[in-house]
Every structure is written in structure tokens, then in C-alpha cells.
């Protein structure tokens, strides 16, 4: 297997276990590349990539841009706040205009679930979903699973806990798909109002007590409360949320084993995770960020290899 089964990366739902393992294997090589003194390879020098960010992002946008530049691709950046989207242009018009400038790949973040899928049906370029509303964030899930694989050697059979706002989190959904495809056991924990009703149909169990859930897991992935996606109040106060579902050093030390703590960022220190936990040796939050560049290089490289050359 040296080829992905898909032309676009729209979500983990649409790829298979072989694809994930190929991405991991390729990322291993790119991780070596980004630790060299010259961190660049010429593979994508004839490819142009547009980063379309219709929604705010720091880490993902930087990570993609860095990955693209490390592969020698040409990069154009677009953010909705400083563009004609404000003047009423539709998504498809914006993208078609950008594609007329001969762009080969599009990395897109959008607040509407399914925006990437919609685009892939209408345009020719290869699309990478960098987060679409509360739907999927495939590269985040890939880098999370890759970081777990790096810690334990494999993902299969490991107990992974996802804590927090499962309802609004695209990271949670993509992680659940990826972890299940790789054979991990997944449990979610959070306020009942923030856990989707049909979550068990994804093969996931629910635990409402953080302490019990932590005792079960090998890895705890702490998610941020997505206030920007909440139209109503899902829990009484932030303080109450922190008391019940926040991870602090005291709970962590009370466990009889050392678990790994992950966070996709941005962290709200003192809400879902305290500073001493985020900065402790059990947290691999910064490893996740480093692995993110390698994973995105692998995804871009593998998808680019499927693009038709112009002269064909």
C-alpha cells in the first residue's frame, strides 16, 4: 500500500485503516525531515495550495502553512475577516475565483458542517478539511492518534477517554472515528447536556464521573468548552464545570497509574485543565503540535501524489 484510497481528506469517516497507517508511516519519515538542520524537501515544488480559513485558527493554520512550506509548495492564504466574503460572496464563487488562479489543493476551515464535502462535489482541486463546524477535523484526529502511537507503540487495545464538550466538538467526532478504526476503546465523559444522545451508536461508552473514567483510561484527551457554538446554557457556571470535569493535579496524582494527558488546544487554563497539569511531564500537548506538522506533510504529500499533472 503506497497510495490513499481517497482524492480528498474530508473526514476520518471516509478513509480506512490502511489509509491511516500509510499516513502514519509517511509521517514518520517527515518527522525525521523536520528535525534536520535544513527542514525542507522539494517534493511539492510544482503545487500551489490555498489555505482558506473562514473561521479563526492559530495552530492549524500555522501548522498547515509550515507543512506546505517544508514540502516546497507555493502557498496562498485567505482569511474570511479580510475578504470579499464580508461583501456577500458565496462560498463556491470565492473558491472558484481562487481556483481560476490555478490552485491545485485547498485546505479549508469553515463554520458550516459539510462545507468541504460540498466543495469537493463542485471543484477540481484536492480538498483537505481543516475543520468544518461541529462535524470533523481529520488532521487533528490523525495527529492525536499518531501521538498515542508514539507513546505506546500502537493504538489498538488502548483505553482512550475524551472529556468535555463532545456535542460541539469536531475533534471528538474525528477522534472517535479514527480511534475506533485503529482498534482502541473509547469512552467519553462530560456534562450530560454536552454528550450527544446517540453517541453509543459510534461504539463509544459514556461515563459521567471524571474520577471513574480517569481510573479506566490510558490517555485522557481534554477538550475545550466551545462557547462560540453554544446557543443556550448547557451547564450552570464555568466554575461548576471545572469542579466536575476539570483535570487537576490532585485527581491525577490520586490515580494508581500514570496516564497521558492530551489537549488539542487552545487551552483554557483553569477551566478544563489546570496549569500544573498542562505543564506536567504527563502532558504531551506540545508533542501533539510537533506531530501535527509531520502528519499534515504526510497528508499533503500523499494527496498531491494523486493529482493529475497538467500536461496529461
Amino acid at each position: 500500500m503506497s497510495e490513499l484510497s481517497v482524492k480528498h481528506l474530508l473526514g476520518i469517516k471516509y478513509i480506512n485503516e490502511n489509509d491511516i497507517n500509510l499516513i502514519f508511516k509517511t509521517a514518520d519519515h517527515f518527522k525525521e525531515v523536520i528535525n534536520r538542520s535544513i527542514k525542507k524537501v522539494p517534493s511539492l515544488r510544482d503545487i500551489t495550495i490555498a489555505n482558506l480559513f473562514f473561521e479563526n485558527s492559530t495552530r492549524t493554520r500555522l501548522s498547515f502553512e509550515l507543512a506546505e512550506k517544508r514540502l516546497s509548495a507555493d502557498v496562498v492564504n485567505f482569511s474570511a475577516s479580510s475578504s470579499s466574503v464580508k461583501k456577500g460572496e458565496t462560498l463556491i464563487d470565492t473558491v472558484n475565483n481562487i481556483l481560476s488562479m490555478k490552485v491545485d489543493m485547498v485546505v479549508m476551515r469553515h463554520s458550516n458542517p459539510g462545507a468541504g464535502i460540498f466543495l469537493s462535489k463542485h471543484i477540481n482541486a484536492s480538498i483537505i478539511n481543516a475543520g468544518d463546524g461541529a462535524h470533523e477535523h481529520p488532521t487533528q484526529a490523525l495527529l492525536d492518534c499518531y501521538s498515542i502511537r508514539e507513546q505506546f507503540g500502537e493504538v489498538a487495545g488502548k483505553n482512550i477517554l475524551i472529556v468535555g464538550d463532545i456535542l460541539h466538538s469536531r475533534v471528538a467526532l474525528s477522534n472517535i472515528f479514527a480511534l475506533k478504526k485503529l482498534g482502541a476503546n473509547v469512552k467519553v465523559c462530560g456534562p450530560k447536556t454536552l454528550i450527544p444522545k446517540y453517541i453509543s451508536s459510534l461504539g463509544v461508552t459514556v461515563e459521567l464521573s471524571l474520577k471513574k473514567a480517569l481510573e479506566w483510561c490510558d490517555v485522557a484527551n481534554m477538550l475545550r468548552v466551545q462557547n462560540e457554538r453554544m446557543d443556550i446554557n448547557y451547564f450552570p457556571t464555568t466554575r461548576e464545570y471545572t469542579q466536575q470535569f476539570g483535570l487537576n493535579k490532585k485527581i491525577l496524582d490520586s490515580l494508581d497509574k500514570e496516564i497521558i494527558v492530551m489537549h488539542p488546544g487552545p487551552i483554557n487554563r483553569g477551566v478544563e485543565i489546570t496549569s500544573d497539569v498542562a505543564d506536567s511531564s504527563q502532558a504531551i500537548i506540545l508533542n501533539q503540535v510537533e506531530n501535527g506538522v509531520a502528519i499534515r506533510m504526510a497528508v499533503l504529500y500523499l494527496l498531491a501524489s494523486k493529482l493529475q499533472r497538467n500536461e496529461d
Partner: protein, 179 residues
């Protein structure tokens, strides 16, 4: 498909000894020289030469690295199937060192072109030489020639030259394969 033996195990062994001696003539104690095996198939040859230099010719502390050139190839997106990458492992400094690239077959010269680009990511070597076990004459696409060669072979384009190693294929031999 037919195959013809170009070199048998004894002839492979003689050629390996000659190559090792030629390297010693030019690089003496190898204190300023490093060997780089080109992935995937140059690695077997590089390991064999290192072993020979250390055991038979008593040269100590030879540095050997592996270089993968997949991301530097000029045929990316030109092949039907993408080529899978191998591991790059260079645990020493190549700055101002004499580098010897080791590969099994020199054909079009494109892999070595890619290797010349790839090695620059690790520093600026003093000089680079090329050792190849089989030099396929008449088929070069680029102005690249070996400094050390095991055997020169005249093979036409649709023929394939395969170098087999005992540790991998169970027997040392070089075959000319006709389709």
C-alpha cells in the same frame, strides 16, 4: 522472462574485495570519510563493504548512514503508483567530510542526482564520490559517472539488472533479466 547470471557468488566476492581496496587507497583510515548507502538497495552493499573493511582490512570506526531520496525524486506524480519512502538515518556530521555514496546499480543517474540534492540538507561535504556495484553503460540521462565500479554492464533499456545479496535473497549474485 529469462535471466542470465552476470556475476556468481565468487565473482561478487572478488569485486567487493577490489572495491574495498580501492576505497582504502583513496581514503586511508576513513577518519575524514563517511559512507552513505542509498535507500533501499544501496544499503546492503554499503553494509557489506563496511563489514569487509572492518573485518578483513582492519579499518576501524567507519561511519555509515542511510539516505532515502523519495522526497527528492524528479518523477513524483509521473509514476502510476507513488514510491514508498524508506528510513533516512545519518547520525554523524557530514560537514567538511568526504562522502562516498554507495548504490547497487547506476542506470539513468537520476537517483544519484536526487541524492546529491538530499545530502545537502545535512550540511556541506568536502567532496562526494560514487561507488556503484553495477554500472549500466549507454543508459545515462545525466552527466553522472561512478568513481568506483564493481562491473560495467551493457544492457538495453527493457532489460533489468538485479543485484542479490545473501542476507536478503539467500545468495550473492547479479542477474540480467529479459522480459
Amino acid at each position: 522472462m529469462s535471466q542470465k547470471v552476470l556475476l556468481n557468488a565468487t565473482e561478487v566476492n572478488i569485486a567487493l574485495h577490489r572495491l574495498a581496496c580501492q576505497l582504502i587507497e583513496n581514503h586511508d583510515t576513513f577518519s575524514e570519510t563517511v559512507l552513505i548507502g542509498i535507500q533501499p538497495r544501496g544499503v546492503f552493499l554499503a553494509e557489506r563493504i563496511k563489514l569487509l573493511l572492518e573485518t578483513t582490512y582492519k579499518v576501524k570506526n567507519i561511519e555509515l548512514g542511510y539516505l532515502d531520496i523519495t522526497f527528492y525524486r524528479d518523477d513524483f506524480r509521473r509514476n502510476d503508483k507513488p514510491i514508498e519512502a524508506s528510513t533516512t538515518k545519518i547520525d554523524f556530521i557530514i560537514e567538511d567530510k568526504k562522502v562516498v555514496f554507495v548504490d547497487d546499480v547506476l542506470y539513468t543517474g537520476r537517483s544519484i542526482r536526487a541524492a546529491l540534492t538530499a545530502i545537502q540538507s545535512f550540511g556541506r561535504p568536502l567532496e562526494i564520490e560514487l561507488l556503484t556495484f553495477i554500472d549500466r553503460r549507454f543508459s545515462r540521462h545525466l552527466p553522472i559517472q561512478p568513481d568506483y565500479r564493481g562491473r560495467q554492464v551493457d544492457a538495453i533499456n527493457h532489460e533489468k539488472v538485479k543485484v542479490c545479496w545473501e542476507e536478503n535473497e539467500g545468495l550473492d549474485a547479479v542477474y540480467l533479466i529479459k522480459n
